[in-house]
């Protein structure tokens, strides 16, 4: 009867002693070389294909031409951007009227209103006009002011019958039309 520890040691010794024998080392060598060469061939093929497709970029004059072309393209792009910005700037200063754009740039609000009036009343039969909110506000204020002044004038004329009669006569004489105040 062999003791347990001894059994274990014997099994281990048996395994240690029985070093695995590689009987086909030349076969392994051949296979390893074949695999490495296959990989190398694949790498060479890939690099060959890459050179064929993109090798021309290494030609000196092609490189220089490409650089010059890219510089020209950048300059054209920059110039176009400048032109576009300038155009946008000039457009933002213009009064836009439907159907046509006016190149006028009025200096004061009154001039603007006058321009709008001329444009809408005489030049453009469609009678539509595009104005800003501030211009509209100013127009309404001036209409209100005119209405107040007209009311005051009416009161003054009503209060003075002689003045009323005089104005009526004057208007009749001049225009041959009757105005009822």
């Amino acid at each position: 009867m062999i003791p347990e520890n001894e059994k274990y040691d014997k099994v281990l010794n048996l395994l240690r002693k029985s070093t695995p024998q590689l009987d086909s080392s030349t076969e392994i060598e051949r296979e390893v070389i074949r695999r490495i060469q296959k990989q190398n061939r694949l790498e060479v093929n890939l690099s060959g294909a890459f050179d064929f497709l993109f090798g021309w970029i290494y030609i000196g004059w092609v490189r220089r031409s490409l650089i010059a072309a890219s510089i020209v393209l950048v300059l054209i792009f920059t110039y176009q951007q400048g032109v576009i910005l300038k155009r946008i700037d000039s457009l933002s200063k213009q009064t836009i009227v439907t159907g046509k754009e006016s190149a006028l740039t009025p200096s004061s609000e009154i001039e603007k209103l006058l321009t709008n009036y001329i444009n809408s009343g005489r030049v453009f039969p469609s009678k539509t006009i595009t104005i800003t909110e501030s211009q509209m506000k100013e127009l309404l204020e001036s209409v209100n002011e005119l209405q107040i002044k007209y009311k005051d004038l009416e009161n003054i004329i009503e209060a003075d019958p002689e003045l009323k009669k005089l104005i009526e006569n004057k208007l009749l004489e001049k225009n041959k039309t009757k105005i009822n105040l």
């Binding site: 281990l12 029985s18 695995p20 392994i28 695999r35």
Partner: protein, 181 residues
């Protein structure tokens, strides 16, 4: 013994010398792979893959002195991969014939070596329940005769973990020996 000069020349890209290196290195790699996997054909596959990896990465090792540790590390990692693959298609290897064989061999003349197939069977039966790490530590320590420091360096496992894994591996194997022999 592998000549450091030969390794240095291979690091320089000398393919003919690499053939010599394959012949010299294959038995070392085969011994570990065979003992880890318990299968001749799979061990040969691992050796081939190891040698191809060596050729690809030989330039990356810092000095030729670390070559031996480095190839063991590659072999162990390749074996881990192979075991992971095998885990998906497990083979049940325990059989009474193998235990009978072990029993006979340890009772017979201890100077008689085992054949590869017999060794493979015994290794598979003894280590089938071990984890990959336990198997690696057991093979490197008890069969290849390496120190715990070397094993730690090769496997990347901490020294204390190496000891623990070795303890569990030995315990598992000695329990099997106790039961079946």
């Amino acid at each position: 013994m592998i000549d450091i000069q030969l390794i240095e020349e291979c690091r320089g890209g000398n393919f003919n010398n690499f053939r010599k290196l394959v012949v010299l290195t294959s038995p070392l790699a085969y011994s570990v792979a065979f003992r880890m996997l318990g299968d001749e054909d799979r061990a040969k596959d691992v050796v081939q893959e190891t040698m191809v990896t060596i050729w690809q990465k030989l330039k990356k090792i810092k000095t030729a002195e670390v070559y031996k540790t480095w190839i063991y590390r590659i072999v162990i990692n390749k074996c881990y991969d192979e075991m992971r693959r095998r885990k998906r298609n497990p083979e049940f290897v325990t059989d009474d014939q193998t235990w009978g064989l072990i029993s006979n061999k340890i009772s017979e003349d201890p100077s008689e070596d085992l054949e590869n197939k017999e060794t493979a069977k015994i290794i598979r039966v003894l280590t089938e329940k071990l984890s990959a790490k336990q198997k690696a530590v057991f093979v490197l320590s008890d069969l290849e005769g390496m120190s715990n420091d070397e094993i730690s360096e090769i496997t990347g496992i901490a020294k204390t973990a190496v000891k623990a894994n070795l303890y569990h591996a030995r315990k598992s194997i000695s329990e099997k020996v106790k039961i079946y022999i």
